[in-house]
């Protein structure tokens, strides 16, 4: 059935598409037809719909997950995921530390070890530290990754480079809070020593007028700007509040000074400290206490206060907004460090910006770079009230994001702008999940190439160049995207050199490592991720068109255009059987490489 585009675009009934996009011989994605009258959270009714949902909610669909989601439906799947056992990183580091040393040095725990456990938990491969259990908490891990791109700490910080336990513990904290409440998350982020080191509020101290020392403003500023409310007052739909045509700042320097004074007196957790271990933090030992080794409790437990260094004597200007609990937003002097921290985090948490601020960022991470105001409003409303009067419930936020009509029908509603540029790391994980990649031993070295993965992709887990993440929510690619006033965060790392290095890394993953062997020189010790090319060999031999349909489903949610399908099919049909290169494997490898680096696939829609 052919429908003229001009007749059907932008016609919606109750926010649902009134008709679907036509298909032809052009580069239109093969969107298929949909009645558009079912509720967004019912379904999925097609494998392609299931794959789309799983692309947003996980590190990539698998054939098994597509079948399971179709069997149980969106809502049950979410409830299963909310209850799935939590996969963590710190125990993996401990397990590796307990292995006998080996000449290759890969039983020494460092940031590569953290990449291993990130890969195992995110891709969902057998975990050798747990008897080859396969982690199944995809939604939690995907949310933790999204949170790690908002609440940024990074091993690029000199102090944290050699602290894999601290960073693993931080990531575990994000995962633990992924389905919890934002207020708890904010407190755990604030008090984690990795954040305390990264934004320098660990061992921050009250003003000293003799020495002209003032509290450090670093965390005070960034917790407001990047983790909670942003710089300008927002309406619930994420648009700026305008007064006289101008945006209204959410805070002033006086506010930053106030929060900086709140965040004084916090230092290393004293668990395990003592004469035979490491110096306890107290009034007499404030600057030279705490850590001495990498794997100690104080790198993993919340910071603790030393009251003598907390500013308990000044009134502190905090955020002032309609309905603020503190009169004028001022926290009166006298509280201890914990009481003041709680009051200040409550003061942030209740600010009306938090809902739309967090909603837009999470939608951008999971679904689309340019959510409509109405979509942001619906998600922000779920943040403000989960339906039972609870504010900040991240389960409700995730349901609102993933089951929204725009998430489910966006490509039909906004066919030329909906979606996002796929992050290179997520291309990588999606490939491995789609192709059931495994290593021989369970150990994973493939996310630790030389140089580091962030030098290939422009990103790596907890390896941002700064607290502003690899890319920023308001980045606009120059050219057409900028002319249209659209946002395109991930394009910020699509630099000329990253285009080549990402592409070449995906080339390696496609052509070098496969279940029957490997084509490139490696020294992988059984820790190389190999694609399961055996699974698709028969299909590749007998019906390369059907092979492409399978990859369109797994990688592109069935959105491969007829043009692209034909172009790839032509390529696969001109390949020849060669010594040590069976035709089936060549077809699989070329198909995967060409898809992973194509414009159509590169935009998640």
């Amino acid at each position: 059935m052919q429908i003229r585009l001009a007749h059907c675009l932008m016609l919606f009934v109750l926010g649902l598409p009134a008709c679907a996009v036509a298909q032809g011989l052009s580069h239109w994605p093969d969107a298929g037809m949909r009645s558009g009258f079912e509720a967004a959270d019912v379904g999925p009714y097609k494998d392609a719909d299931a794959a789309r949902f799983l692309t947003q909610a996980t590190f990539g669909p698998t054939l098994e997950d597509i079948a399971h989601l179709r069997a149980v439906g969106y809502r049950n799947w979410l409830n299963e995921q909310f209850a799935a056992p939590v996969a963590t990183q710190v125990p993996y580091l401990n397990w590796v530390e307990g292995l006998p040393p080996n000449p290759d040095g890969n039983n020494t725990v460092n940031d590569h070890t953290r990449m291993e456990t990130w890969s195992i938990n995110s891709v969902g491969t057998p975990d050798p530290s747990r008897g080859m259990v396969i982690p199944t908490d995809q939604l939690r891990q995907r949310m933790a990754f999204a949170l790690s791109e908002i609440f940024v700490v990074s091993s690029k910080n000199g102090t944290l480079t050699y602290e894999p336990w601290a960073l693993a513990s931080y990531y575990d904290m994000l995962a633990a809070n992924a389905f919890g409440n934002y207020r708890d998350l904010l407190e755990d982020v604030t008090l984690h020593p990795a954040m305390g080191i990264y934004l320098t509020h660990l061992a921050n101290q009250k003003a000293n007028t003799t020495l002209n020392i003032r509290p450090d403003e670093n965390y005070a500023r960034e917790v407001l700007q990047l983790f909670s409310i942003g710089l300008a007052q927002l309406n619930t739909d994420g648009s700026p509040v305008l007064v006289g045509g101008q945006p209204v700042p959410t805070y002033s320097q006086a506010t930053v000074t106030g929060f900086a004074a709140v965040f004084t007196g916090w230092n290393w957790n004293n668990t395990g400290c003592g004469p035979t271990t490491y110096v306890c933090c107290d009034e007499n030992n404030y600057s030279n206490c705490g850590r001495y080794d990498h794997n100690i409790p104080s790198w993993k437990l919340p910071m603790q206060p030393v009251e003598a260094f907390h500013d308990s004597t000044s009134n502190k200007q905090l955020l002032d907004y309609p309905g603020v609990a503190l009169p004028g937003g001022v926290l009166a002097a006298g509280g201890d460090a914990t009481a003041e921290l709680n009051a200040a985090l409550d003061n942030i948490f209740e600010h009306p910006n938090v809902g739309p601020f967090i909603a837009r960022r999470l939608i951008q991470r999971l679904v689309t770079s340019n959510p409509s105001a109405a979509y942001i409003q619906r998600v922000a409303s779920a943040f403000n009230n989960n339906g039972s009067g609870v504010r900040g419930d991240l389960k409700a936020v995730l349901r609102a994001i993933l089951l929204d009509s725009e998430a489910r029908y966006g490509p039909w509603q906004y066919p030329s702008i909906f979606g996002k540029l796929r992050e290179p790391l997520l291309k990588n994980t999606q490939l491995w999940r789609a192709m059931e990649a495994r290593t021989e031993t369970g150990r994973v070295e493939t996310l630790s190439p030389y140089p580091g993965i962030e030098d290939w992709y422009g990103q790596g887990p907890l390896r941002s160049p700064s607290v502003f993440n690899f890319f920023q929510p308001d980045y606009r690619q120059s050219g057409e995207i900028s002319s249209l006033a659209l946002y395109s965060p991930e394009f910020q790392i699509l630099t000329d050199s990253n285009i080549v290095s990402t592409n070449n890394r995906l080339f390696s993953l496609s052509f070098c490592f496969y279940s029957e062997g490997e084509s490139c020189w490696t020294n992988g010790h059984g820790a190389v991720m190999k694609l399961n090319t055996v699974r698709d060999a028969a299909l590749a031999n007998s019906n390369p068109g059907a092979l492409l349909d399978r990859y369109s489903l797994l990688l592109m949610s069935g959105q491969m255009s007829p043009f692209m399908h034909q172009t790839l099919l032509n390529r696969l049909n001109t390949l020849d059987e060669e010594p040590n290169r069976p035709l089936s494997r060549q077809r699989i490898q070329h198909a995967l490489y060409l898809i992973l680096n194509s414009p159509e696939y590169s935009i998640q829609k």
């Binding site: 101290q205 710089l231 030329s416 502003f468 050219g479 659209l486 699509l494 060409l594 414009p599 590169s602």
Partner: protein, 479 residues
């Protein structure tokens, strides 16, 4: 017109509200027509190099007074010496690293520091000091983002507009790079210069080349930048000339398929088109750059083996091959971080500055080797200066700060602009929270370089619309 092309246009217009796309292209055409520069005459070559110090450099610990009264003011803010765990230099250290500015040349700006004090450089900036004292480096005092000149009283009363979101990294980096605090969506001043000059280059490689991150500074309406690794060009393995091309047999049909998917203007989705355009541009540019670099002799000048050294070495090599690239004008962007020294400032600044200073010296030497020292001007920029006040072993976000300009065309060995008081109490030059109010705007700093780079007064007024707010449109530190 093919069916695909028609569909693309109709679809774009329908879905995106019609006029926006056409008007955007229309503006570009108008600007392209306004680009006045035909090919530059042979020998007319100039390059600008932006050194962005990510995080906000504490320039009050980079250019430090040692004369009694100014040093006392400095110590009132930074009272704890480095030896005692603070950030303050002792007087003797600064005096041992003294700068020897030239006297004022009648009728021209530039000379000793405006406050009559004597200054030295951070000891790790030894090579910069040598370049200053031999006339190759100038210091521009207290530069920052401004919409209009503003006094302390005006700032505190809020009677004069100041750039939005002062002291925020992201915003102030944007305004340093755009010089448009009146417009959060403006593009970069390097890019706007390139928009007006690019027709003078005969080659296809963009006038703006980044050896570091994607940046706003080099973004124009027409011209976008080319970003390359300081280590050189890498090619795509799938297309036959990359690091792992040997893994697969000859692949001509693969090239054809790959290129068919990337073909111009065939993608229906805005983001897909942008991805395809970026990829095609990257491939086209690396081929040209690689051919030029491969044919060039190695530089004799040795560069330090640091990230900063690699970036500036590649800039020097791209200057070396300018003729092969068909480039009479080049704008480079290199960057260094982390200067956000809330703590551990003493060690971090020492580390950063020694790398910076050594690399800049090598770069200057390379321009001498290439015979273009007077055609290449290098300048620093940063998010902001830092606060006078100290939090034990670090400093917080500030506003104005001092900057360096280097090159054979620089009227060096001089201070320009005004040196602010560094006093802790009753300081008329600060906001009230310890941040120094700039007395020279980024507009003035940038426009001075734009004039040297060959932009006309009309073009400069166009690129820097707020420049007329300030009483000195050219600081005369160049030429």
């Amino acid at each position: 017109m093919s069916l695909n092309r028609r569909r693309f246009l109709r679809h774009s217009l329908t879905a995106l509200g019609g006029a926006s796309l056409y008007s955007a292209f229309g503006n570009m055409r108008a600007l392209a027509a306004a680009a006045s520069h035909t090919t530059f005459p042979a020998g007319d070559f100039k390059a600008l190099v932006c050194i962005f110090l990510n995080g906000g450099n504490d320039s009050f610990n980079s250019v430090v007074p040692y004369s009694a009264s100014q040093y006392a003011d400095y110590r009132s803010s930074r009272s704890v010496l480095i030896a005692n765990g603070g950030v303050a230099f002792d007087q003797a250290t600064i005096q041992a690293n003294a700068l020897s500015p030239l006297a004022v040349q009648p009728g021209l700006p530039g000379g000793p520091p405006s406050d009559g004090g004597s200054y030295g450089l951070h000891p790790a900036l030894a090579e910069m000091r040598q370049l200053f004292n031999t006339g190759k480096v100038a210091i521009v005092g207290n530069v920052g983002t401004l919409l209009h000149p503003v006094t302390q009283a005006e700032y505190q009363a809020g009677t004069v507009a100041v750039p939005p979101q002062l002291f925020s990294h992201s915003d102030q980096s944007i305004y340093w790079q755009s010089s448009r605090p009146d417009d959060a969506n403006a593009n970069g001043w390097g890019g706007r210069m390139a928009d007006r000059l690019y027709t003078g280059n005969t080659g296809t490689v963009p006038l703006c080349i980044s050896l570091a991150e994607n940046n706003l500074f080099q973004r124009g309406d027409i011209v976008s930048s080319y970003g390359m690794s300081p280590e050189g060009v890498e090619k795509l393995s799938y297309l036959g000339d990359g690091p792992e091309s040997w893994v697969i047999p000859p692949n001509e049909d693969g090239f054809a398929a790959y290129n068919a998917l990337l073909a111009a203007d065939t993608q229906e989705h805005v983001f897909e088109r942008s991805f395809a355009n970026s990829t095609r541009n990257s491939i086209a540019n690396y081929e040209v750059v690689d051919a030029a670099l491969s044919a060039a002799a190695p530089l004799a000048t040795a560069f330090p083996d640091t990230r900063m050294g690699s970036q500036l070495k590649m800039a020097a090599r791209l200057i070396q091959v300018r003729a092969a690239l068909g480039m009479s004008r080049q704008i480079f962007y290199v960057s260094q971080g982390a200067y956000d020294t809330h703590n551990n400032q003493v060690d971090d600044q020492q580390w950063n500055f020694s790398q910076l200073s050594q690399a800049l010296k090598a770069f200057y030497d390379a321009t001498v080797e290439l015979g273009v020292a007077s055609s290449v001007t290098t300048f620093t920029a940063s998010d902001f200066g830092r606060s006078l006040g100290v939090n034990v072993d670090g400093t917080d976000h500030g506003w104005g700060g001092h900057h360096f300009v280097m090159g054979g065309a620089v009227r060096g060995q001089r201070f320009y602009g005004a040196m602010p008081s560094l006093r802790y109490d009753n300081n008329p030059d600060e906001t009230g929270f310890g941040q120094i109010i700039p007395t020279t705007s980024v507009d003035q700093y940038a426009a001075t370089m734009a004039a040297w780079f060959g932009l006309s007064a009309t073009e400069i007024a166009d690129i820097f619309p707020s420049l007329s707010e300030f009483n000195q449109a050219n600081l005369r530190f160049l030429g």
